[in-house]
């Protein structure tokens, strides 16, 4: 048996799955202010890992680091690509990292306007990754864009509308379609339901759960909403002041919190 998670990541296939992503010793400073300290975790294929904590606890910083958008002050992020090779995300060339980011990875922003190109049609937003990947048949690209709109439950007659004409919930679904069109293996979700009303939230959560299930997609989900975390994630990490205070299976963490902070967090949730 491999001894450490790092060995496990690089080891030949075992009966069980090997992790897709391994983050070790992530520490990051903004100036002299520490945003996260010695964060380590792994993500396995097909699982959703929840990351909860209050505002300013370092969740988003960690997400930016593991998605390759920002280099940490120290620590490494290893990713096992589809071909099997293990890559240090922050030692890749920029071109390679960007290629990875638009093929095997996905990033869903809290504000869909950050993740969408608001100046082109919805169809073009979905087509973007395909065109970057070298698709040169208009009809085919358009067909796949229409397909994906259907899969995220947007009426296909809205294909040529600008995202500006979409509602908040539709925008978020469009952003998801834009990310999933290249069949990524790992998606980062930053508060995907933030700013949406409750019924739209429920529909979106349902959609995300279905898609991750059918596509065998792994995801890292950042949220401050424990209900969202319980619904979507199998494993949960609780962060406070840049440190991971508790981690484990979602149900265990939420039903039997060990750390005083987690206990506080769980007990302060409003009952519906």
């Amino acid at each position: 048996m491999p001894k450490t998670a790092r060995d496990n990541l690089t080891a030949p296939p075992q009966n069980g799955d090997r992790p897709l992503l391994l983050a070790e010793g992530l520490t990051h400073y903004y100036g002299t202010k520490r945003a996260c300290r010695d964060v380590r975790f792994e993500v396995y294929p097909g699982e959703i890992l929840g990351l909860v904590g209050e505002s300013g606890s370092g969740k988003t910083t960690v997400l930016k680091i593991v998605s390759g958008q920002m280099a940490p002050s120290s620590g490494t992020v290893l990713y096992r690509e589809a071909g099997g090779a293990v890559l240090d995300l922050h030692k890749l060339s920029e071109g390679r990292r960007r290629l990875l980011a638009r093929t095997e990875l996905g990033f869903v922003h809290q504000n869909p306007r950050d993740g969408l190109n608001m100046n082109v049609s919805a169809g073009a937003n979905v087509a973007d990754r395909l065109l970057s990947g070298g698709a040169r048949l208009y009809a085919e690209v358009r067909g796949r864009a229409r397909d994906w709109l259907e899969r995220v439950e947007i009426a296909t007659d809205r294909l040529d509308d600008r995202p500006g004409q979409y509602s908040g919930g539709m925008l978020q679904r469009l952003q998801i379609a834009r990310n999933l069109v290249t069949s990524p293996r790992l998606v980062f979700l930053d508060e995907p339901t933030g700013g949406l009303d409750v019924s739209v939230q429920a529909k979106l959560l349902d959609l995300i759960r279905n898609l991750t299930g059918t596509l065998k997609l792994a995801a890292v989900l950042v949220t401050h909403d424990l209900a969202v975390a319980r619904l979507l994630s199998q494993r949960l990490m609780v962060m406070k002041e840049g440190k991971v205070v508790e981690a484990g299976l979602t149900d265990r963490v939420l039903d039997d919190p060990q750390d005083p902070y987690t206990q506080l967090l769980v007990s302060s949730t409003l009952e519906a």
């Binding site: 960007r98 082109v120 073009a124 087509a127 065109l131 970057s132 048949l137 208009y138 358009r142 040529d160």
Partner: protein, 335 residues
């Protein structure tokens, strides 16, 4: 202006005249030169160091076809948008033996063309021409002449927006990264949008091209009709953007491909009409509205090409069809 001052002593303050100074001395006392027009400026307006700096940028541009090279653009005695980039490039490369031609919208007689030609006539004294085949440097806005370009000729373009992706990506660092990493998905996004909206690619001018299979480039606002002329051209093409301070180039015999989709290939514009003046069917035609009752005519935008065809057609000894057919070959021979 200077000449007027010299010829009209009445404009000089009378007090100075009464002191008995010569006009030269009076002008000098007012920090005005008494030299003739053009003499107080360096050859081709810019100083030699500036010209050398621009030529260095141009050499780099030629070495990396399609790549935008920054240069220290100078203030020119005209507003941005009037061709300051092209003029600086022309001024940097022009020599005493050059023959200079300027076209604007294909024509030698529009205001801009006449003014820029006069600018160089005054400040260099080089010969100017309207005939494409005779020119060694052709500064242009909007068109590439119909007469095929020859080896040794240099086209100078006035470029308003050098970045082909600017419309879709406002950040300069980002577009530079896209160029560096050869990520041109945005180009296709632009075409995708166009086809989606209009069922076909409707970009009629400034149609983006890929130069030497490497750099995406804006060919400046030439009609897409002229794009094929850039491919494997015998001439050197230099592009100058004054406001954005960029130069770029297409060296002779470089592969230049217009972006397109496999199922929506690049096509040039065509007309059902022929030129109302010379009858040409294969040139780029301008539509001229003649009255408010729908009257219009189509004429060649390339005025030199049109007049040349007329001249040749009026020569009785050589029948027009053969003469016209040999036009292209003749132009090549002359170059």
């Amino acid at each position: 202006m200077r000449q007027q001052r010299k010829n009209k002593p009445a404009e000089i303050p009378t007090a100075s005249l009464e002191e008995g100074g010569s006009i030269d001395r009076i002008l000098k006392s007012q920090n005005l030169s008494a030299k003739g027009p053009g003499e107080e400026y360096n050859f081709a307006y810019l100083d030699e160091d500036t010209k050398r700096e621009i030529r260095r940028a141009l050499l780099k541009a030629v070495a990396i076809p399609g790549y935008q090279v920054p240069f220290a653009g100078r203030e020119m005695p005209m507003p941005y948008g009037w061709g300051t980039g092209g003029i600086q490039v022309s001024a940097s490369i022009i020599g005493k033996d050059d023959v200079f031609k300027v076209i604007d919208q294909g024509s030698d007689d529009t205001t801009n063309a006449v003014s820029i030609r006069a600018f160089f006539e005054t400040l260099t004294g080089v010969a100017t021409t309207t005939e494409t085949a005779e020119a060694t440097i052709i500064q242009t806005r909007h068109r590439i002449p119909e007469t095929p370009l020859a080896e040794g000729q240099i086209m100078v373009y006035q470029v308003p927006l050098p970045e082909a992706m600017r419309q879709l990506e406002p950040s300069e660092p980002e577009t530079r990264s896209l160029h560096a990493l050869f990520e041109y998905g945005l180009m296709y996004l632009k075409l995708y949008e166009d086809i989606t909206k209009h069922k076909e690619i409707t970009i009629s001018y400034d149609y983006p091209v890929l130069v030497a299979d490497r750099y995406a480039m804006s060919p400046s606002p030439i009609p897409r009709f002229d794009n094929p002329k850039l491919n494997d051209s015998k001439a050197l093409h230099l592009f100058g953007a004054g406001r954005e301070r960029r130069v770029y180039a297409i060296p002779p015999h470089t592969r230049v491909k217009s972006f397109d989709f496999n199922d929506h290939p690049f096509r040039v514009q065509g007309w059902e009409n022929s030129c109302a003046i010379c009858g040409a069917t294969d040139s780029y035609l301008d539509e001229i509205v003649q009255d408010d009752r729908g009257g219009r005519m189509f004429v060649c935008s390339d005025s030199d090409h049109c007049q040349r065809r007329l001249r040749l057609a009026s020569q009785p000894e050589a029948g027009p069809p053969e003469r016209l057919a040999s036009l292209g070959q003749e132009a090549q021979d002359r170059g």
